[in-house]
């Protein structure tokens, strides 16, 4: 019954668990266990029935005396052990996964666990090995963190290369703590208990093709699986018109892998799992592009009530309906945001933004997003330099002399912030055409007027007018309707 093979392991550098065995198996009574603290008498002694005790980790070394006794208490044998720090192994406590949360829409697993840092001194380096299993072992990933003498909840995301519904995913973790000042052997902890995210192939009502009706970027590699009844045979799986080789996942799940997916038609690409003559499951995959950066973003106002922004969308996304690209116009100075109602089929995009009180400077951000990505384009605009009036209306010509006329026209809009430059086109006969410029103060939904002199008596003239901003020219309005007038006889 001699005590032997004494081994001591610490999980937290403070306490250590020592175990031993006895040379003969026979029936023993209680064991007397004594240890010195830092080799200073007197030793600490106690009785134990187990061949396992927990005692403090010595700073340098400790002497352990183990005495085995018979049932009646007579001593069998006594053995002393000299334990130095280098003889003690350091194995961190087995970590435990606090939560394993699936996000089926992105096929992502989120793992949360505690680093148990409170039992360790500040600043130790901890290495975590996270193993993902799917059927067989699949992926082992290293994660690094720094212990802070507090229990910190660590979180890590892993994105699967296939929908989580396809088959069950399992996760386990273990850790290694680099205690540089600890001279004894250091090792990885045990693996944590395994946590599982069950696949649809474990659900009696889980049949179907996954992912369901999802959107991916052109060029993606996509795994699509078919979950079916136990014992059912998949005849074939097609992606669009093509049959694809199948990958076995489990007795109820097989997958196909589509590499470098190309853009789908407007109604998406059908992925069909044909199980028998008239039984099939399927899904629709929409393969498109992230939105392009809007090009030639330009904003102007025709009436100082609404600002009209236009842009070229760039490469079409190939996504339509409720997956189409959405646009919003955000103005930084006022903080106002407007979502734009855009006609997908119109080459040029248009969005209206209200003119805000007496604000002339607008710092626009055009936000663009669709299920695959987002982008934006910015533009700083001084509205008084971006006036593009509507074409003048209600042009009338009145004449009270044989050589002069007076024109009147109306422009829809509030132009009190600017002066208007208007150009009058005077035509008489086929080739005689003159332009006459006149500058008028901008009005609020006003009628404007101009006098033309030095005309020929009793002559038929055609008049038309267009306007723009006088001080910062941006664009002419369209010409007004032509108005005909004959001057009086001399």
């Amino acid at each position: 019954g001699h005590p032997q093979n004494l081994k001591c392991v610490t999980h937290n550098l403070h306490k250590m668990i020592c175990t031993w065995d006895a040379s003969s198996r026979g029936r023993h009574g209680q064991t007397d266990f004594c240890y010195t603290t830092n080799d200073l008498p007197p030793p600490v002694c106690f009785k134990t029935k187990e061949k396992r005790v927990e005692i403090p980790v010595p700073e340098r070394s400790t002497t352990v005396t183990i005495t085995t006794n018979s049932i009646s208490g007579t001593t069998f044998a006594t053995k002393d052990f000299e334990i130095h720090e280098k003889d003690i192994s350091f194995v961190p406590l087995t970590p435990r996964i606090l939560s394993l949360t699936p996000d089926f829409s992105t096929s992502t697993l989120n793992v949360k666990w505690s680093d148990n840092g409170s039992v360790f001194p500040y600043g130790l380096d901890a290495f975590w090995q996270i193993q993902i299993l799917r059927g067989e072992a699949m992926e082992k990933v290293m994660y690094y963190s720094k212990l802070t003498h507090e229990d910190i909840i660590l979180s890590w995301n892993w994105t699967s290369d296939m929908p989580l519904e396809c088959t069950s995913h399992y996760v386990k973790i273990r850790c290694y703590i680099n205690v540089t000042q600890f001279v004894g052997p250091k090792d990885w902890s045990d693996w944590s208990p395994v946590e599982e995210i069950p696949g649809k192939d474990t659900d009696p009502n889980g049949n179907g093709v996954f992912p369901q009706d999802t959107v991916v970027a052109v060029g993606s590699d996509v795994t699509i699986c078919c979950v079916h009844e136990e014992g059912q045979q998949i005849q074939r799986m097609t992606y669009g018109p093509d049959i694809h080789p199948m990958i076995y996942l489990s007795s109820r799940s097989s997958a196909i892998r589509v590499l470098n997916a190309s853009a789908s038609d407007t109604s998406g690409t059908n992925v069909v799992c044909i199980l028998s003559e008239d039984e099939m499951e399927g899904t629709v995959l929409f393969v498109g592009y992230a939105p392009d950066i809007p090009q030639n973003l330009s904003c102007e106002t025709s009436n100082f009530l609404t600002i009209k922004c236009t842009w070229k969308p760039g490469r079409p996304s190939g996504l339509y309906g409720n997956r189409k690209t959405n646009y919003s116009l955000f103005e930084r100075i006022s903080g106002k945001n407007v979502s734009c109602k855009v006609d997908e089929m119109n080459r040029e995009r248009v969005c209206g933004f209200p003119v805000l009180g007496d604000q002339n400077i607008y710092d626009f951000v055009l936000g663009v997003s669709n299920p695959i990505g987002q982008t934006k384009s910015s533009l700083l605009v001084d509205l008084t330099k971006r006036v593009h009036p509507k074409s003048p209306e209600k042009l009338t010509v009145s004449g009270n002399s044989s050589t002069s006329v007076r024109l009147h026209w109306f422009i829809n809009g509030s132009f009190t912030e600017v002066r208007l430059l208007c150009q009058i086109e005077i035509s008489s006969g086929r080739y005689e055409r003159k332009l006459h410029n006149v500058t008028v103060p901008g009005g609020n939904f006003s009628t404007y007027t101009a006098q033309l002199n030095a005309l020929h008596p009793y002559t038929k003239y055609w008049f038309s007018v267009r306007c723009s901003a006088a001080d910062h020219f941006w664009r002419w309005s369209d010409w007004s309707r032509v108005e005909e007038h004959t001057t009086l006889e001399a």
Binding site: V209, D213, G268, V272, E277, G282, G321, K324, D343, M345
Partner: protein, 195 residues
């Protein structure tokens, strides 16, 4: 309103039947064209066999030849009211899924929906002539189909159009039977062949 069996009612009955036959024939052609467009635009396999779908009226009928005229009209009316709702649902889904990207299919769907609505009204006219009057629509509106995946929607649409094409054929035959009988007679002997 003319008594059910007066000469003008018989004339109106025959006129409604023959116009109905023409309507059903045109509708069938348009549905078949729409079916081709639908299969192509939805990326479906034209030969795919699609299981029966709840809520989609089935054109096949047993002992077709033993049906009375009123039975024929009532079954037709129930079916086309259902198709009117199903096509409206398909049109809405089409707009939601594709927006302005596929107006060809949208316009074709809308055109057939218009014809189905017109044919439904036509059947109601015939039933009024039968001095029975069509059953009210309260509660007749089929419950909106349960939410299903996009692929199942595509298959359901395929099934709707296939059955509608068959119904247009059956309606033509039903109306020919009806044309032989006077209005309000209810029962119609018919030769022993079924659609």
């Amino acid at each position: 309103m003319a008594a059910a069996d007066s000469p003008s009612a018989a004339l109106r009955h025959r006129d409604l039947c023959s116009r109905g036959i023409r309507l059903a024939g045109k509708m069938r052609l348009d549905v078949i064209n729409l079916l081709d467009t639908y299969v192509e635009r939805q990326g479906l396999d034209a030969s795919a066999s699609v299981a029966a779908v709840e809520g989609v009226p089935v054109a096949a009928v047993e002992r077709w030849d033993e049906q009375t005229g009123t039975q024929r009209l009532l079954e037709n009316l129930v079916a086309y009211r259902a198709f009117r709702a199903l096509l409206a649902q398909m049109l809405e889904e089409q707009r939601e899924q594709l927006g302005e990207a596929d107006t060809t299919l949208g316009r074709a769907l809308a055109a057939v929906l218009l014809q189905v609505s017109a044919f439904t009204y036509h059947l109601e006219e015939l039933l009024r002539l039968e001095s029975r009057g069509p059953p009210g629509e309260e509660g007749a509106e089929p419950p909106p189909p349960p939410p299903v995946s996009l692929f199942e929607r595509k298959l359901r649409g395929l099934r709707v159009l296939r059955e509608l094409a068959q119904w247009a054929l059956r309606s033509t035959r039903d109306l020919r039977q009806l044309a032989k009988a006077s209005p309000g007679s209810g029962s119609v002997p018919s030769p022993p062949n079924s659609p």
